[in-house]
């Protein structure tokens, strides 16, 4: 980011200043004055553009690729904590697997916001669903890698936390995932960045980053509220 | 708009005001070469535009069908709900009809160019006959496609029944629309021919379009037939 910032800033300022200077300089030329060429002519400029921008492109491409690869080509570690997130008009809901570490299956036909069966769980039949903890906020222990399993219930949404520099769309019909580690305790906002309807502006949830002990307490509280 | 027939514009051949004499540049037109007959009529003769126009239009049509193809490939590959439609038998017959129509159109074109070469104005009957045959084969093809839809309908396969049937209806319907457009073109061409006002470029343009529809159908047929 910083290198891009510098490069963009320099080329921006240089271009604007030279443009302004040239306009000022040559708009006041006298009638008898001869027309001159820019030293080096078109060939020089094209060469400069290709070499300079080419190098820049290569550099940005390589750096950018590294940064990208770090996030997207590395699978989550074996100790990553799985959390499921479901986006719907216009709220995020989260699911923790509970003590058994397993998520029960989702039955879309059972989804009912009136009974707060957000994920469409069948508590009567699915053993794995019984201890699942469904929450409206997302708490994570600090410095623990989180493996986020994402799906959308209705239309496209997106998961964006400014402070974590992460953004990933929810694409209906696709199960996507994301992994990240939060390193600073605090309360952050998860917001939706993909236009999803009239309540788009108010589609958000809080991300609570806390110590492991606090997190366990929080999870117990939430389990009691199921 | 005007119903009277007008002669194509004649630009009297003039000496080329070219600075680089001998290299043949400066002639204008997209073929910047001196035409073989030495005149510069090619420039500004609008009838070449009809050919160019058809080719440009075909490029756009190709692109549209490429988009639909990619949609089909993605759709077929991405979901588990793909049930392949067995193509109705009548399609094989339709394919034959359309291929035959390309040949009959080519016959008409041959006859016409021989006619133009001989310069006889009254013997338009032979190319016209072949044009009519092409027209009826084209109509038969569209009718056959309709029969194929009826056949699918009788099997309970509607537009929205399965993704495969959706694509079948969309692709065949869009193609049939284009064929109908081609039929309109052929009707125009034959009416021109009847009045002995047909230019070769117009007929060429129409036949290029028609052959393209033929090839496009063979491609679509294959696409709908194969399970990727």
């Amino acid at each position: 980011m910083a290198d891009t910032m510098i490069e963009a800033g320099v080329s921006f300022l240089a271009a604007q200043i030279i443009l302004a200077v040239f306009i000022w300089w040559f708009s006041t030329s006298k009638p008898g004055q001869k027309i001159r060429n820019f030293p080096g002519g078109a060939r020089g400029l094209v060469a400069a553009a290709i070499v300079l921008v080419g190098l820049e492109v290569l550099a940005l491409g390589v750096f950018g690729q590294k940064a990208w690869a770090n996030i997207y080509f590395t699978p989550p570690g074996p100790n990553a904590m799985p959390i499921q997130v479901q986006a719907g008009q216009f709220a995020f809901y989260f699911r923790y697997p509970g003590p058994d570490g397993k998520f029960g299956p989702i039955h879309p036909e059972l989804i009912n916001e009136a009974t707060q069966n957000i994920f469409g769980l069948d508590l009567d039949h699915d053993q794995d669903s019984k201890d699942d903890i469904v929450t409206a906020q997302m708490a994570v222990p600090v410095n623990r890698e989180i493996h986020l399993l994402m799906h959308a219930k209705d239309v496209g949404h997106s998961f964006y936390v400014r402070e974590l520099r992460i953004q990933q769309d929810f694409v209906p019909g696709l199960d996507l995932s994301l992994h990240f580690t939060a390193t600073t305790p605090g309360k952050y906002e998860i917001v939706c960045t993909q236009l999803c309807g009239l309540g788009h502006y108010n589609m958000k949830a809080y991300l609570l980053v806390m110590s492991q002990a606090d997190f366990e307490n929080w999870l117990k509280q939430q389990a009691a509220m199921q | 708009m005007a119903t009277t027939v007008h002669e194509p514009p004649r630009v009297r051949p003039r000496k080329l005001p070219s600075r680089k004499q001998g290299t043949g540049s400066g002639g204008g037109g997209w073929r910047d070469r001196t035409p073989s007959d030495g005149s510069f009529l090619a420039v500004g003769d609008r009838s070449t535009a009809s050919k160019t126009g058809v080719w440009v239009g075909l490029a756009a049509i190709t692109m549209s069908f490429a988009a639909l193809t990619s949609a089909l490939v993605v759709r077929q590959g991405s979901a588990a709900d793909w049930q392949h439609v067995t193509l109705p038998r009548v399609l094989y017959l339709n394919t034959l009809v359309l291929v035959a129509s390309s040949f009959t159109l080519e016959f008409a074109r041959r006859r016409f160019s021989r006619l133009a070469f001989l310069g006889s104005g009254e013997a338009t009957a032979s190319p016209l006959r072949w044009l009519y045959v092409t027209l009826s084969l084209g109509l038969l093809f569209v009718g056959g496609q309709y029969a194929a839809w009826l056949q699918l309908k009788s099997q309970g396969l509607y537009l929205a029944t399965t993704p495969s049937s959706s694509f079948f209806y969309v692709l065949t319907a869009v193609h049939a629309l284009h064929v109908l457009g081609g039929l309109g073109g052929l009707i125009y061409v034959s009416s021109k021919l009847r009045r002995s006002a047909l230019r070769k470029n117009t007929l060429d343009a129409a036949s290029h379009y028609w052959h393209f529809m033929d090839i496009l159908w063979l491609y679509l047929f294959l696409l709908l037939w194969v399970k990727l």
Binding site: Q89, Q116, L198, N202 | -
Partner: protein, 248 residues
């Protein structure tokens, strides 16, 4: 000339009055009718009502700190009285009584990011006044079923907006209403023909203005569905009909 105006005016008033009397006939008649009372009860354990986490919109959460609202699919009062049951006459009403429309609007209020009341019942064509008292924008999204003859809509109500009025064209028990911005907000609008009532927090209800006759009475509850029973109403008398739904 002036006299002529006076005459015409008086005549018009008289004709209007006569017409009014003629048309108000059935409802005046119903006023002398009887009523149906009773209670709706739940036997067994009510379905679990989850507490709602409103943290998504702090404006809502602030109004319920320490005392979270629960879902309202089954609300049981003392002695197993079932709140928010809709009782209405499903068969046997004369056309006049069935088509009478109350001129009194029913208020459907949004307060603390919850619908008040959770269930309303209205006549076909009766005005519903949708009001908001929340400092946040709600959207009101009724979802009538496809073949009912009612057309769904979806409309936002920014904070501070005056109430707006709406009506339904066809009977339907009951149209779910939800707010998508606050997905936990859920309520029902029952649209019926003829006299009806919604049970209170003790489960009891009273249907007034029932003309004498034999009727089929239906009670509807959002989780447990419908129950019917026959009831006979005599002129000026009160008939009783109790319903009992079975929980799991």
């Amino acid at each position: 000339m002036k006299n002529w105006y006076k005459c015409a005016g008086t005549l018009t008033v008289l004709v209007l009055l006569g017409l009014a009397l003629l048309y108000s006939g059935p409802s005046v008649g119903a006023g002398s009718g009887g009523k149906i009372t009773g209670t709706i009860k739940l036997e067994g354990a009510p379905a679990h009502q989850r507490p709602i986490d409103m943290s998504k919109d702090p404006v809502c959460a602030q109004q319920h700190t320490g005392n979270p609202v629960r879902t309202e699919t089954v609300v049981v009062g003392p002695n197993g009285g079932l709140e928010y049951g809709v009782v209405y006459i499903s068969e046997g009403l004369p056309a006049g009584a069935a088509n009478a429309v109350s001129s009194q609007p029913v208020t459907f209020d949004q307060k603390g990011c919850v619908y008040h009341p959770h269930v309303i019942a209205v006549d076909v064509g009766q005005k519903i006044e949708v009001a908001t008292h929340d400092p946040t924008t709600h959207n009101i999204h009724p979802l009538p079923s496809a073949g009912s003859g009612n057309i769904g809509w979806n409309k936002s109500q920014p904070p501070g907006s005056p109430p707006f009025e709406t009506t339904w064209k066809a009977p339907e028990v009951a149209i779910p209403v939800k707010c998508n911005i606050h997905p936990w907000m859920h309520g029902y609008m029952a649209v019926v023909k003829g006299p009806h009532a919604v049970s209170d927090d003790k489960g009891s209800y009273t249907i007034d203005n029932v003309p004498p006759g034999n009727y089929t009475l239906t009670a509807w509850q959002e989780t447990y569905g419908t129950q019917t029973q026959k009831v006979t109403v005599a002129s000026g008398k009160s008939a009783t009909a109790d319903f009992t739904f079975k929980g799991k």
